[in-house]
Symmetry: C2
Subunit: 293 residues, 2 copies
């Protein structure tokens, strides 16, 4: 029943335009292609060779190095899957060209800077609904695209509360991401950024610190624990710099909390207070075990 | 050829006695049983019911709640797989009872406190060679034992340099762990503890801090990155308290280095120095990528 409804809705979109065909953009393409093989999926990117390769891999039905007004006619969804610092500019540019019943959404890991910039653009603010599917991997490029990447993953939708004409569009956005397999969670952009600083951006920094401090010479004496704990630190540094820079104040606050907590461990060790050490580790164990239970 | 040599050597041991039949002890038992089905594998523990269950699972050929002198006759290897704070005391107690050609080794994650305590015991110091197979998991208990747990894992051997009669015994210890699948690395106990503070103990603390700081309410918005980065924080808090307390000064030093590195990220974010941020993240990315390449 739900599947039936979902299919009808994705079919009601004439085409899906994906701006930035990397891991996320490629996976959106793959997911749309798998769920609705008759829907046009058009990739927009910089490099013709890469776009043709993505088409050859079956991800795209067509591609272009620029968005044309004719592509933005009729009923279509544009999904901007660029690095976060490029999203708002691209959304506004596309909004200028849109003539049809166009919905623009994105997959950026930060939301406030993007939504604030889009909201200051009258035309873009009326057709953009921000989204963040919490899915990914440390290996970039459409070669790692996966049509099931979004299956059962949370997608945060940041409905634009300052643009009252949007509820209908927000519903269409929710439906779009739900059809790719996502579970929808509605949040404000600011709340999203505060929480993601703790659930994603701080963990990345902690993994990066752990990977740097260990030193290359000691890598042979690492085990599976280190491997898992630092896996995300292998993610693309430029992409993560843009994410961190796009959520500066929340991340600085999260780092402050981590510094306080780490100091508690240091003090307990220095003062030989093993009861305190046990209490700290037990709290962490309890918190982490909630995730698997 | 190597396999043949290995088999002959494990067969030359009349029995393997495992003190503490949890994840590691159970996996040692499983590995010995698989590689030499005719070798006696005797489990020593506190709880009769658990020991019988481990025997029923095929891990042990016999068990007891205490080590008897008669068990320690002939040529045998004792592997002490207890929490680290209990290892040295148990090694000395077993050494007092040993009458045959007995080798005692262990699987503790810290080495200096154990080796120092054993070296102060004249009898124990002559028959003990410390070991640390770098393998494990956050799920304890012999139910998770795996005969392949040690396959291709590093096992650090800390040959006792203050006891000159040991080289032969150290060779026998290397051979024992090699037969379970390990790659042997020789180190002093002090060097082991300094390196493991960085490769294992600090990563555990960083994961614990990350898991605690996130807060339970935010867990639904975590992704696979958070899941991997904090997995080890689900490890048993009491076991890890003993490990941390057994390597205090090295871990405090490692925390200091992590605090310095984390402060570099905070400062770069506060000062909006994105070039610096990129440099830091790129260094971490490069370091972590060495592990998979």
């Amino acid at each position: 029943m739900m599947d039936g409804m979902a299919e009808i809705s994705l079919e009601s979109e004439e085409r899906v335009i994906i701006v930035g065909v990397g891991l996320i953009g490629g996976s959106v393409a793959a997911a749309v292609r798998r769920r609705n093989p008759t829907c046009d999926v058009i990739g927009i990117g910089r490099c013709e060779k890469r776009l043709q390769a993505a088409a050859d891999a079956g991800l795209l039905t067509d591609w272009s190095t620029e968005v044309a007004s004719s592509t933005l006619a009729g009923r279509c969804v544009v999904v901007v899957c660029l690095p976060v610092h490029l999203i708002a500019g691209q959304v506004c540019q596309i909004a200028e060209l849109a003539t049809g019943d166009v919905l623009i959404t994105d997959a950026g890991s930060v939301k406030s800077v993007i939504c604030d910039a889009v909201n200051s653009h009258p035309r873009a603010s009326r057709i953009f609904v921000g989204a963040h599917p919490i899915a990914g991997g440390e290996q970039g490029g459409f070669e790692h695209a996966d049509s099931e990447l979004f299956e059962d993953k949370v997608c945060v939708i940041t409905e634009n509360d300052s643009a009252p004409a949007l509820p209908l569009l927000a519903g269409r956005t929710r439906q779009f991401w739900r059809q790719l397999g996502c579970r929808i969670v509605d949040m404000t952009a600011r709340e999203h950024d505060r929480v993601l600083a703790l659930t994603s951006h701080l963990p990345h920094l902690m993994a990066a610190v752990t990977a740097t401090v260990v030193g290359s010479d000691n890598l042979p004496l690492t085990g599976s624990g280190f491997r898992d704990a630092t896996r995300i630190a292998a993610g693309d540094a430029a992409l993560w710099t843009a994410i961190m820079a796009g959520n500066r104040s929340c991340i600085v606050e999260a780092i402050g909390r981590a510094e306080e907590e780490l100091a508690l461990y240091r003090t307990a060790l220095e003062q030989q207070d093993d009861d305190r050490l046990l209490t700290l580790l037990a709290a962490a164990e309890k918190c982490r075990r909630k995730l698997t239970s």
